[in-house]
Amino acid sequence: MSDIEIKDNPDIKSELQTPPEPGYSEWRKDENTLYNDGLPEEEKDWFCDARPQKARKSVQVIENFLNWARSQSLWILAFGTGCGAIELRPLVTSRYDISRLGMQPRPTPRQANLIMIGGYVSIKTLKRIVRSYEQMQGPKFVVAVCSCAINGGMYWDSYNTVKRIDEYIPVDVYVTGCMPRPEAVLAGFNKLKELIKAGKAEGQNLYIERFDWYKENQKKVIKDWNMPDYNW
């Protein structure tokens, strides 16, 4: 399976064009608090306004062990945005059976480690993706499937579809194809496992590090931002 092209995180990082802006944007109160300006005044009480902090790793030896355990027990939040979502179903059937890899679909982001974005991402969907991603507990990993998720695919000139998800959330592994075969997705998962074991899948911390940049990008396209700045 190694003969199918896989793009992993370091490649994409090199393509990031704009580095994060230094300093505080107007929606960020201070190092630990967010303004949550998108919310009406009476709703601000209902949402947590803490700014996420970078998670600390343990001692390297332990961390290696934990990374191994994480790679052996990936719980998937399948975000079926487009046609690529179809590809997850065969994965749990007897033919491909991801459960032998220790993976299982999980219906709630709280308990999932891996969000799988299955296709084109419209603005409306992007909002939900961001929310679900932020609700996951770290370390968390993103696998984006289909060319639509990589460069817009057939929606390259659509008025309502983003063309690159990595501007909005950090993606660990892309799987190309329109649509990719389940084997390809499996290969993607295997790649992700390798990355995790190597300690390279630190998308969560990347997101926190470049939090302002990601938020700017998200807010640029999501016009009705009626949610807190970070969905805890």
Binding site: I123, N151, Y159, N160, R164, I222, K223, D224
Partner: protein, 174 residues
């Protein structure tokens, strides 16, 4: 369908009748008579099901062509009633009082084409495009490509030609 057209002709100013197949026909009606014709079809002719409401933007003729597709359960016939309205002042009478679901189509038409239906419930609420701020996107004079390029960043193309690259990957010995 022919007979139906002839009978309708006695009461309404219908024209441009065209039969697509035995159970599907279209006809056109002036804007002012649309609602009464629909009421007539629903109450008397048995066309009780509103299948859909669509719109085509005839930019050249400066008009929107709305099509109300009705279905008759007893004869299993479909009749498309078309009405042409001006692009300059796209306002139309609502049919949500005849079919409850009509308001959904009307919301969609407002969002996508900017056709207003005064009195239709929630017609100005965003439906599919949350927080959309541009012009109605389905109008033909809206350039989606330009909009997309202006709004969303494009991933630079990988310089490897796919065909070559795959060949290298798969059959490196060739």
């Amino acid at each position: 369908m022919e007979t139906l057209y002839k009978e309708l002709k006695q009461y309404f100013d219908v024209d441009e009748f065209s039969v697509q197949k035995a159970s599907l026909a279209f006809l056109r009606v002036p804007k002012s008579q649309l609602v009464s014709l629909l009421t007539h079809m629903k109450d008397i002719r048995g066309y009780t099901h509103l299948v859909m409401v669509t719109c085509v933007d005839y930019l050249e003729q400066d008009s929107f062509l709305l099509t109300y597709l009705l279905h008759n359960y007893s004869t299993h016939c479909d009749l498309g009633i078309q009405v042409s309205i001006s692009r300059q002042n796209p306002v139309m009478d609502g049919i949500h009082h005849l079919w409850e679901q009509g308001r959904v189509y009307q919301r969609e038409l407002f969002e996508m084409f900017g056709i207003d239906f005064p009195g239709s419930p929630d017609v100005h609420e965003p439906m599919i495009l949350e927080g959309w701020q541009g012009p109605p996107p389905m109008r033909r004079d809206f350039d989606t490509k330009a909009y997309s390029e202006a709004t969303y960043s494009h991933r630079p193309r990988d310089h490897k030609e796919p065909e070559e690259y795959m060949k290298q990957q798969l059959y490196p010995e060739d």
